[in-house]
Amino acid sequence: MDRNGMAVVARLRGVTKTLGGRPVLNAISLEVRAGEVTALLGPNGAGKTTTVGVLTGRFAPDAGEAELFGLDPGRPAARARIGVVLQSAGLPDVLTVRELVSLHSGYYRRPREIHETMALAGLEGLEKRRAGALSGGQLRRLHYALAICGQPDLLVLDEPTTGLDHEARRRLWSSVRAEADAGTAVLLTTHYLEEADALADRIIVIDDGRIVADATPSGIKADVAGSTIRCRTMLPDPALAALPGVRSVRRSGGAATLLVADGAVAARALLGADPSVSDLTISAASLEDALGDLSATIRKAA
């Protein structure tokens, strides 16, 4: 049990991993708790999939410790309690949806009824369809069905909604939410901020193999609450950074993006310093801006 009274089902402590000579994870520490959806959020190549690989026993850490239900994740007794959706995994084209769900249900001690799994994954009516004849979205749902069919205590979803349309994504979210509300620990990786924001109780931001932030969605937003100013200006970056309340400055093309504590104060100062400013917009900082800011801060500190 941790301080919130939720059981910790999976834990990494100072995990470092090098794959193919490239350092992928750098001293990653995290906890996944029962009844919570934990989102591992970060850009492609940040180390999300490798983190999942260490937690599910596919990779042994080079340094640090990985624990799954208090056991080494490579142990079959630990794997017996997890369900996993991998980012990409082929299924035998010639087996039917029902055959595959029934086969995987048989791997677990207390599987769900097949029809219940079908309903939860939104696969009703597709039972007799062969896996090779499914659309991309249906195939993702089948993978989800294989992950939940055993009523796992930990559900691991690596980019579960990639390739799903809006409607299917919403359905999957509510199904994942229901699993967590029933006490399952859920760990999902995503590069969609919207997904992490909508679904997660906790967001762990990972970038370049390091954990950049670990907080609730609102906590992460509060850390960097403020406004975003976008404009075209002749001022150099150091001059922009010296304006009141500016946290970060980024450039793309001719436009500058400033993350600031108070939009109105910074905008007045900006107009005072450079009367030729054009295309000026002020908006509330999005989670995306906030995370970009966090990553940049960490990089500077490193």
Binding site: T56, R79, L86, G90, P92, V94, L103, H104, G106, Y107
Partner: protein
């Protein structure tokens, strides 16, 4: 803590049934490996045979080994490589399925395909006039079915190391190479001297000689030697296969 593992016996059986289903629904894979040995045997040992039932019995022993190599090399070598590349093995490995069940299912299915191919050869041999005492038949069937194991292990070792395309090419090369060098199509005495020496390195040669000795044909060299060599080759293949499984990140 309560044991959360599913009952292994059921898992092994269900995985094997699923694997058999996969094979039977992919006739483009299953048919060539089942039909090729029967076609070769029927043509060379029965239809074009001018030397009588003795020659047909000799060929029956060696072609039976040939019939076992196809499903074993292709099912394991190519099959495992494809399933490793597309991520299915990774999915099995993060699931609670015991690793042994995946391998056992593949072995059962290769054995079943080999049994079908063998049944066709046996039927053809009866048509060709081959008559053996029941105890010789029994021993021959056992040797033929056990032939699947060394080839399956070799195929598995290849499949865990090589990509899908490379594994198919390697399986084809071994399929032909083992058949010719092992004397499965014709006695190796008609081959050049260096090829006759290379034959001793192949599991097919030893299996062919053991199969021949079960029907009373004296083997080249001594039978215990062939058994010892085969055990050694099989153990080496098993070691390579296990290392490939452990090392592969996928």
């Amino acid at each position: 803590m309560e044991n959360a593992l599913a009952r292994p016996a059921g898992v092994f059986a269900r995985e094997s049934v699923a694997e058999l289903r996969k094979n039977l629904r992919l006739p483009q894979f299953a048919l060539p490996t089942i039909l090729t040995p029967a076609l070769f045997y029927g043509l060379f040992a029965v239809m074009l045979n001018k030397a009588g039932p003795g020659a047909a019995a000799y060929s029956l022993a060696t072609f039976g080994v040939f019939a076992a190599t196809g499903p074993a090399l292709f099912g394991f070598g190519a099959g495992v490589a494809v399933e490793r590349e597309n991520g299915l093995i990774e999915l099995k490995r993060v699931s609670p399925l015991p690793a042994g069940a995946y391998i056992c299912a593949k072995l059962v299915s290769a054995g079943a395909m080999a049994a079908l191919a063998l049944a066709m050869i046996y039927a053809l041999s009866l048509i060709g006039g081959v008559r053996l005492p029941p105890e010789q038949w029994a021993l021959l069937v056992i040797v033929h079915l056990l032939s699947v194991i060394p080839f399956a292990l070799l195929g598995f070792a290849i499949g865990m190391r090589v990509g899908a395309k490379g594994a198919i090419a390697a399986a084809n090369a071994l399929y032909l190479g083992f058949s010719i060098l092992g004397g499965l199509w014709m006695p190796i005495t008609i081959l050049p001297g260096w090829m006759q020496q290379a034959a001793w390195l192949t599991p097919s040669f030893h299996l062919g000689q053991i199969a021949l000795s079960t029907i009373g044909v004296p083997p080249q060299g001594s039978a215990p030697w062939h058994v010892a060599a085969l055990v050694f080759i099989t153990a080496a293949a098993a070691w390579l296969a296990l290392r490939g499984w452990r090392r592969s990140p996928a």
